[in-house]
């Protein structure tokens, strides 16, 4: 990251070539997957119909949710101090959703008719997968509008920039509504699997838990990114933003913890937590590392330092990753378990697409105005 965003424009950053190589490898493997099919290129089977791509998508969507949380805080709650991080957050969100979209496209078997999800006569409003597909598509278009001024102003198209600025509340508002829907619906997708998903994770409150998780994960990802990028660019760090990110995070972590513990107790699942099997341990690990630890950091004096929200973000992201991994992969039991581990193609397509997103981010940072000038950073 640091190497990518170095403001020295004369030389190509050292991270460029490896990222480019990984991206090209990923693109090549993606074409290979489309030609030979899922059976040959992946290790998915009738026992594991979803693999690493779905798990990565389920994790990337809340991380890229940073764009929506920051929009809410800055546009609607009147937090002017967040304005300096809107653009970096929205671009990260857009590229994150781009990766999600590409991986989903590669994952569906009948990709030549992916557009069926938009055909009015086919749409199933009861299907949370349909809802996620529609909302993610529409939200990606919203992110295009939100990030467009970065490019339009550089190329001198002032009129459309003014239109977007005038309509920003409607645009950002629609983005927030769509995000609330699909972030929660990602959890709702698993409501259809009460007998398959492990009971410590399955609950009717899944939509609410996934939504709260998306909010604190997005805020955590923002804290991590702001610290790394600001440091790399040599911008003065605004401590106020960190404290506010940390406080907003802590509220959502507390709500999540309360619902999670309440659900475990209400459903009588506490004995399962005390059993020394791998799921009981995993639930403990997720709760202690992903919820309790970041909450402890944020409720202490550390919230006032940049490293507090930064580390809280790191641990919260680990917790979110565990939850999404269990829900989409290891917690979905089959009667005759056949093991699944992603193939070389699955792994390197995933890495390649993420590398491509970093590459594009670096290019935009280098050639467009994504960050405020240092003298305005304190505003």
């Amino acid at each position: 990251m640091a190497a990518l965003t170095r403001s020295n424009k004369s030389s190509i950053p050292s991270a460029f070539w490896p990222l480019l190589a990984l991206t090209l490898l990923g693109v090549g493997l993606a074409i290979y997957r489309l030609v030979v099919g899922l059976g040959v290129s992946t290790n998915m089977s009738d026992h594991y119909p979803w693999g690493i791509w779905i798990t990565v998508d389920l994790f990337l969507i809340p991380v890229a949710g940073a764009a929506f949380t920051i929009s809410l805080l800055s546009y609607f709650m009147g937090r002017e101090d967040y304005h300096s991080i809107i653009r970096p957050a929205v671009l990260a969100g857009f590229l994150g959703y781009g990766v999600v979209g590409v991986l989903l496209f590669l994952d569906i078997g009948r990709w030549t008719q992916f557009y069926n999800i938009f055909v009015p006569g086919y749409i199933n409003l009861h299907s949370f997968l349909e809802e996620v597909s529609l909302c993610v598509t529409l939200y990606t278009l919203i992110l295009v509008l939100e990030i467009a001024p970065v490019f339009l102003e550089k190329w001198g198209y002032d009129v459309p920039v003014r239109w977007i600025q005038r309509g920003i509340f409607v645009i950002a508002g629609a983005g927030i509504v769509l995000s609330m829907l699909h972030q929660s619906s990602l959890g709702s997708m698993f409501l259809l699997m009460p007998h398959k998903l492990h009971p410590l994770w399955w609950t009717p409150a899944l939509p609410l838990l996934f939504y709260l998780q998306a909010v604190y994960t997005g805020l955590g990802a923002t804290a991590i990114a702001v610290k790394l990028i600001w440091k790399a660019m040599g911008l003065p760090i605004d401590r106020v933003i960190f404290r506010r990110l940390g406080q907003a995070m802590s509220i959502n972590l507390m709500l999540y913890a309360a619902i999670k513990v309440g659900d475990w107790m209400g459903a009588g699942e506490v004995p399962m937590l005390l059993r020394p099997d791998s799921f009981g341990l995993l639930a403990w690990f997720q709760f202690l590392i992903g919820i309790a630890l970041p909450l402890g950091i944020l409720l202490s004096k550390l919230v006032g330092h940049t490293s507090g929200p930064f580390w809280a973000g790191v641990f919260a992201l680990i917790g979110t990753f565990i939850e999404r991994l269990v829900v989409s992969w290891i917690g979905l039991a089959e009667p005759n378990p056949v093991s699944y581990f992603p193939s070389f193609t699955e792994i390197f397509i995933t890495i390649g697409m993420i590398a491509g997103a970093f590459l594009l981010y670096g290019v935009v940072v280098r050639y467009f105005k994504l960050f405020p000038d240092p003298e305005h950073a304190h505003a």
């Binding site: 994952d107 569906i108 992916f114 997968l129 509504v177 829907l181 939509p207």
Partner: protein
């Protein structure tokens, strides 16, 4: 400015919510007792696999032979094997059990399918339309019976495959191919209501022979393929799923969340924004 924007969102939300409720009420449910159905009596099955062969012939699915290519030997459902007989055996007891799509009265696969490629037809079968299917495989996870299979080895445009309850035959008034072929009448075809009455009669006439339960009568909200057995159903891989339809919680949540967020969230955003404009957040909320 704020007010008009709020009104706009409100109107849009109401329109979307209204359309949603309209599509909801348009669907009247047929009587499940009239559905085409099958009753499998495990105590009468001799495991001859004639049903599997009849299914292959009618649906033109490929054999899955053993390593020596001597015997069609599928061990579980696959994209090519839509029904098969499995054997549960211990020293104390044994039973055959037939596997195929259960054709739920309220199917989770149909509820989950984003593009309505899976549908519950008025006659009872759950059918699949490959021209709609995008290959997302959500149905495979939604199904509590682990039935839908995916044609992984097809390089281009693999399909979801499962028993169709011979929807094409049922439409013409014919029984399913497997039930027609069964030599011991362990598998019979008929109207769901009639088969339930038949099954109840068998249990009451021969209580020692059967577990006192018709699996599928109420399980998972009822299925069109029902089972009688002499050994407990969970040993045959027929899990206790409760009597509620699997999609109940998911669809109930969809009915609340979709209109709720589409109408409620814009109003909430408008209120948050107005409060912020008056400077309210600075005083009341320290973030």
């Amino acid at each position: 400015m704020t007010l008009s924007r709020r009104d706009f969102f409100k109107a849009a939300g109401l329109a979307i919510g209204g359309a949603f409720i309209a599509t909801e009420s348009a669907q009247a449910k047929p009587d499940p007792n009239e559905y085409a159905a099958m009753l499998y009596d495990a105590t009468m099955c001799v495991g001859c696999n004639a049903c599997t062969n009849a299914c292959r012939e009618w649906n033109k699915t490929a054999d899955e032979p053993d390593a020596r290519l001597l015997y069609d030997a599928p061990s579980e459902l696959s994209a090519d094997t839509w029904t098969l007989i499995q054997l549960y055996q211990t020293e104390a007891e044994s039973s055959f059990v037939k596997r195929q799509c259960m054709h739920c009265v309220d199917p989770a696969c149909v509820s989950g399918c984003p593009v309505q490629a899976l549908q519950k037809t008025a006659e009872g079968p759950v059918t699949y339309d490959q021209d709609r299917c995008i290959g997302c495989r959500y149905c495979m996870y939604a199904c509590p019976f682990h039935v839908p299979r995916f044609a992984w080895d097809t390089a281009q445009f693999p399909v979801i495959a499962k028993c169709t309850l011979c929807a094409d035959r049922v439409q013409d008034g014919l029984p399913t191919a497997c039930a027609e072929r069964c030599p011991t009448s362990a598998l019979i075809f008929g109207k769901r209501g009639d088969l339930i009455a038949d099954a109840e009669k068998r249990i009451s006439e021969n209580p020692a022979r059967y577990v006192d339960h018709i699996y599928g009568k109420d399980d998972a909200g009822g299925t069109s393929v029902m089972y009688l057995s002499g050994v407990s159903f969970d040993k045959l891989g027929l899990q206790d799923l409760g009597d509620k339809p699997i999609p109940e919680i998911s669809e109930g949540t969809a009915n609340i969340i979709l209109p709720g967020v589409l109408i409620g969230a814009p109003i909430l955003l408008g209120m948050i924004r107005m409060t912020a404009k008056r400077g309210g957040w600075e005083e009341t909320w320290p973030l």
